[in-house]
């Protein structure tokens, strides 16, 4: 199968698990496992932006790396454009990988300081055998223009660029292989506020122009809200909630989502002074020793006995057009409480 695979879904993640062994002692015996990713199932549709949010340790970055098979999954399946990435051999991967690219958080750390910006992008073309050698210089110029950098900057080194420009080089490098799917892992987090908006707009433009599909990972929930069509909320390696951006942010069904939303600072003193913040007690538990039952019950104000013992199944409380998946025994109660809040807040 090839890029012409007609299905609506570009990427299928099936019960993906990644455990990191914990070893102790002289014999380095495995004494446990950090359950960084513990069975997530997500479909990403062609042309959509799926946002991935959660605290540190929720498994966001592990998910990204396991999907690209930069990490070997412990279990589960990733199907990209009809091809099983998890079962692919070296040769298949060489063919699949150029179509799945990643933009990293820190453009400074991910660019070779001794290579000019132009040669960094050129290298991506060469190692992936993209185009004929004679056409590559022209292609590098095109890529520079595409990300809003003057081709005159090709001979400059990373330290001669600003943070925002370096991130543009990182994006040009990712786009060199003409990917269908791009994972942006905290791609704007290290940038100044005034620059973040530039990069978000650029990503938005490129998506439209090149018909890209994004997985946008960020701890900045308002940016995720802004850029994503759908959002998945991860907690301790599991999907807590998944739905359209509007549903998840405006009609949240999981208490963890409610708490995340409540924690976002609102840049408006009047609204800030009126709102009651739900402050989650404590820190996320250790993923090497996750709580029994629902993993969130230790910090949840909705928790009852059943949450201590039974892990909640994923349920769809949305519509056929817009599924809204949640893993919570008390999702209906959460919805009512969120509605109530809306009525009482002017």
């Amino acid at each position: 199968m090839s890029a012409t695979n007609g299905s609506d879904t570009l990427l299928q993640v099936r019960d993906l698990v990644k455990h990191f062994p914990v070893r102790r002692g002289v014999l380095r015996r495995q004494v446990g496992a950090v359950q960084a990713l513990d069975g997530i199932t997500i479909d990403i549709r062609r042309g959509e932006t799926l946002g991935l949010v959660g605290e540190s340790g929720s498994g966001k970055s592990t998910a990204a790396r396991t999907i690209l098979r930069l990490l070997e999954p412990t279990r589960g399946q990733v199907i990209f454009d009809g091809e099983d990435v998890t079962a692919a051999d070296r040769k298949d991967l060489r063919r699949i990988r150029p179509r799945m690219q990643m933009v990293f958080q820190d453009p400074y750390a991910s660019l070779n300081p001794r290579k000019t910006a132009g040669s960094t992008v050129m290298e991506a073309l060469e190692t992936n055998h993209i185009g004929a050698a004679s056409g590559r210089h022209g292609r590098v110029e095109e890529l520079f223009e595409l990300v809003g950098l003057s081709p005159r900057f090709q001979n400059r080194y990373p330290h001669e660029f600003s943070g925002g420009q370096r991130q543009r080089i990182g994006i040009a490098r990712a786009l060199a292989t003409e990917p269908r799917f791009v994972i942006a892992d905290e791609a704007i987090s290290a940038l100044d506020v005034s620059i973040q908006a530039q990069i978000v707009n650029l990503l938005d433009d490129l998506k439209r122009q090149l018909e890209l599909t994004y997985l946008f990972i960020s701890h900045d929930l308002s940016m995720v809200r802004h850029i994503s069509d759908r959002v998945a909320v991860l907690y301790l390696g599991k999907v807590a909630e998944l739905g359209t951006s509007a549903d998840v942010w405006e009609r949240p069904l999981h208490p963890y989502t409610l708490a995340l939303l409540s924690a976002i600072p609102v840049p408006d003193p009047v609204r800030e002074s009126e709102r009651e913040r739900i402050v989650l007690p404590g820190d996320p538990p250790d993923p090497a020793d996750p709580p029994s039952g629902c993993r969130f019950h230790t910090r949840c104000s909705f928790a009852t006995d059943v949450c201590h013992t039974d892990e909640p199944e994923l349920r769809d409380l949305g519509t056929p057009q817009a599924p809204h998946i949640v893993a919570c025994h008390h999702a209906e109660r959460v919805r009512r409480s969120a509605d109530h809040e809306k009525e009482t807040v002017p």
């Binding site: 506020v193 908006a197 002074s273 402050v279």
Partner: protein, 335 residues
């Protein structure tokens, strides 16, 4: 009105670098009264952290030097004060917390030891009293089972807890002023919310004055009484909190507000500020923001705009401040 607790006036701090002098902070002035909270907002290179360090007398010299100005605490000049006098004020009267708790805590010493050392040194408590005080402080900042954890090392705590421990250390001598330099930047949004609520609560209970340094206008909206916005070493706008958000009057402040996504649901395109901030601040004869400003006129490139009032306690360093002020902040574009 009462005498200000902390009064910074016309502060100028420079650094000698291989590429010549950098003017990190130029003519910054602000006052802080007892129990008042001020935010200094700016991006990287704006001079906000250098301002904080110079209040504490902690600008490394060389290459840094305070070129001019004064920092008065309870009427006493701190600039040029002896290291001995400064040490008495630092920690005891003015305490500071930093962005990265792991680098500010000593990884080799137990948390209890790090707190008891401070209170024994500054408050002259004995070993027993100091341990009690340490446990009390950790409880105050919300570390469960505090007394039992005094013997643990920093790496045994989570990132959020380490930031709480730093806050506990800063509070250990009941300072009158707490300076917080991006204390929540490295933290998850949930932990950030915990820390903000904690600081608000401590401010109410202990009556501390606060200087909160951040790049995030969103964070300050629920936390402070007034804001100083810095750009490239200059204070470009100073205003009471609500006034700043309701009628931002410097194009940079307006630009920062417009770069933030609104949480309303409309997916309007973001309005970024074009270009990037200069990576090294220099003293300029023109407006430092002119190269990125959509309101720019010839005068901006020829004449430096001094900070001038547009309303009580609201100063703006822009030649077109009155026009900017009269334009709603989220209007489509500058005329």
């Amino acid at each position: 009105m009462s005498e200000p607790l902390l009064e910074v006036s016309q502060l100028a701090v420079g650094f000698d670098t291989d590429e010549g002098p950098v003017h990190a902070v130029n003519d910054i002035s602000f006052t802080l009264r007892e129990g008042e909270a001020l935010a200094i907002v700016g991006e990287s290179g704006s001079g906000k952290s250098v301002t904080a360090l110079s209040i504490m007398g902690l600008v490394p010299s060389p290459p840094g030097r305070v070129d001019a100005g004064s920092v008065r605490y309870k009427g006493r000049e701190l600039l040029g004060a002896s290291e001995r006098d400064l040490r008495r004020i630092r920690g005891r009267e003015i305490a500071m917390i930093y962005q990265d708790p792991m680098t500010s805590l000593n990884p080799a010493l137990t948390v209890g030891r790090q707190i008891t050392e401070i209170v024994r040194h500054h408050l002259g408590l004995d070993r027993r009293q100091a341990a009690d005080r340490a446990a009390e402080l950790l409880t105050l900042v919300g570390i469960p089972n505090a007394a039992g954890r005094l013997g643990e090392h920093p790496h045994q705590f989570s990132g959020g807890q380490r930031q709480r421990i730093l806050i506990a250390m800063a509070l250990s001598c009941d300072p009158a002023v707490l300076i917080a330099d991006e204390p929540t930047t490295a933290l998850d949004v949930t932990v950030q919310a915990q820390i903000i609520e904690l600081v608000k609560d401590l401010r109410e209970r202990l009556g501390m004055a606060i200087v909160w340094i951040t790049h995030d206008l969103g964070v300050v909206a629920g936390l402070v009484d007034k804001v100083t916005v810095m750009y490239s070493g200059y204070a470009v706008e100073q205003a009471p909190l609500r006034e700043l958000f309701a009628q931002p009057s410097h194009p940079y402040t307006v630009g920062l507000l417009r770069s933030l996504p609104t949480f309303g649901g409309d997916r309007r395109r973001l309005t970024p500020i074009p270009g990037s901030p200069p990576d090294q601040a220099r003293r300029v004869e023109s407006c430092p923001f002119a190269p990125r400003c959509d309101w720019v006129i010839d005068r901006c490139r020829e004449e430096f705009p001094a900070l001038a009032g547009v309303a009580p306690d609201h100063g703006v360093a822009c030649h077109r401040r009155d026009e900017v002020r009269d334009t709603p902040p989220l209007a489509a574009a500058a005329p």
